[in-house]
């Protein structure tokens, strides 16, 4: 589904990614983990073509993404911080994104799911962080694309919306889609992901199931397993 080979990226003097090789197969939920500033978002933005890599190759669904924008039709992306133009109304934004991509009716179901009806006529600048995140989720999930990339999807969500989000992600997985998630909420990751990818100092440190990670680090639970990687590497 997604293949990354020898990916390098430097921001000024800061080497963020130094030789990432990663292969993500079709179907299932993959969690990308790592300490703050380890390059998770950079990795994701490279796949989306928002960050231009210094070196390396990325292929999505068998196509090289360089000088190509069509492949983004196949990706639903949830950005980390919902930075929307503040003078647009929620309704206008949803309509605009639909015009850009393709018509869909899925948004109505999602708006109902996240109880967004009262906010449809409000301007995006006046919404709370959590409500913005819900709008963000609607925009991401309303298209039926085979690859879904979620950057910190849980930010700002209340417990009930979090449960709805988990159900939503599981339903997408059941349809045979590939979901890539970054998150710092370990319980969330442990509950929904099939496989985790751990990035440390710009490289893939570990890739495999949670069970495999526990055995590797000799820790009984997931949170401690992650913590032990971090303390062992002084990160």
């Amino acid at each position: 589904m997604v293949t990354i080979e020898n990916l390098h990226k430097k921001f000024g003097k800061n080497q963020v990614l130094s030789g990432v090789d990663l292969n993500i197969n079709e179907g299932g939920i993959f969690a990308v983990l790592g300490p703050n500033g380890s390059g998770k978002t950079t990795l994701i933005k490279s796949v989306l073509g928002m960050v231009i890599p210094d070196k390396g190759n990325i292929t999505v669904l068998g196509k090289n993404i360089k000088k190509n924008s069509e492949y983004r039709h196949k990706i639903d992306y949830l950005p980390q911080i919902a930075n929307f133009p503040s003078n647009l109304r929620v309704k206008e934004l949803i309509k605009m994104i639909k015009d850009l991509r393709k018509p869909t009716n899925e948004d109505e179901r999602l708006i109902e799911l996240f109880r967004l009806e009262p906010f449809l006529d409000k301007k995006l600048g006046n919404l709370s962080g959590g409500t913005k995140q819900k709008v963000n989720l609607v925009l991401t999930f309303m298209f039926d694309s085979p690859l879904i990339i979620l950057d910190e999807p849980t930010t700002g969500l209340d417990p009930i919306s979090l449960i709805r989000l988990k159900d939503l992600i599981k339903a997408e997985k059941a349809k045979g889609k590939t979901v890539i998630i970054t998150s710092h909420i370990m319980s969330f990751v442990e509950e929904i992901s099939d496989e985790i990818v751990f990035i440390l100092e710009g490289k893939i440190y570990f890739k495999g199931s949670i069970q495999k990670l526990k055995t590797k680090t000799n820790q009984p639970d997931f949170e401690h397993a992650i913590a032990s990687i971090l303390t062992d590497n002084h990160a």
Partner: protein, 248 residues
């Protein structure tokens, strides 16, 4: 945001056009006054609006970048959106009062068209330059600073330096140097073009005669427009090039 300001800009030109034409009653004087305003104001507004629009729509740009749209179409679309709406404000704002004044029967129609054409060129040039500055500077304050400096340089400082060179080397034949110097600055080029068209080149003395010989011919006119076009195309190409390499 953008549309509200372009209405204000439009209203300003409308008012300026009406006042100059109907209170003055001398068409060629009105055109000269307009020229002085356009030469200074159009680049300033183009620069400021360009930078302001780019920084204001940054969030929107990031939203678009994740969608299946080519980068070049996002940025060229934004550039054309600003540049064309400013040009429309200029053309309509000045054009409407002139049409009511009876422009089509007057002999000043060519002078006036030249005024609008150079005004549009200046808008396109300076909006493109402003986008270039904004693309290269993440820091808004720096971006605004550079944009204002660029305007100040081309509108004021360049002339000063140019004049000083002419005085310093007055013992040498300077026709070619001054011609080239004028060509390299879009503001000077526009001013010279309009002044010469208005047939007041006698005021410029000897250099004026040389200029008249060059710009007055159709060859000179074509070369000038080619120069202005180059001034538009170069920064636009850089927008496309730079936007392809930028990280968001």
């Amino acid at each position: 945001m953008r549309s509200r300001w372009s209405y204000v800009y439009f209203a300003f030109y409308l008012l300026l056009g009406v006042v100059l034409l109907f209170l003055n009653n001398d068409l060629s004087k009105a055109v000269i006054t307009l020229m002085n305003v356009i030469i200074v104001l159009v680049p300033l507004i183009g620069t400021i609006f360009g930078v302001m629009y780019y920084y204001n729509s940054q969030e929107f740009t990031e939203l678009l970048l994740a969608q299946p749209i080519k980068r070049s179409s996002i940025f060229l679309g934004q550039y054309l959106g600003v540049a064309l709406s400013l040009s429309m404000s200029l053309i309509l704002g000045l054009g409407i009062p002139f049409v009511f004044y009876g422009l089509f029967e007057s002999s000043a129609i060519w002078d006036f068209s030249l005024l609008l054409i150079t005004g549009t060129f200046l808008t396109l040039i300076f909006t493109a330059l402003a986008f270039n500055i904004a693309l290269s500077n993440e820091n808004k304050i720096k971006g605004f600073g550079y944009a204002i400096l660029l305007w100040l340089f081309l509108a004021v400082i360049y002339d000063g330096l140019f004049l000083m060179t002419l005085i310093l080397f007055e013992d040498y034949p300077l026709d070619k140097v001054s011609l080239i110097g004028t060509m390299l600055n879009p503001i000077d080029l526009s001013r010279t073009l309009i002044l010469l068209k208005l047939d007041i080149s006698a005021l410029l003395g000897y250099t004026g005669a040389v200029f008249k010989q060059f710009f007055g011919t159709s060859f000179g006119l074509i070369v000038s427009f080619v120069m202005l076009t180059i001034w538009v195309v170069m920064p636009v190409l850089r927008i496309v090039f730079k936007s392809k390499k930028k990280d968001f």
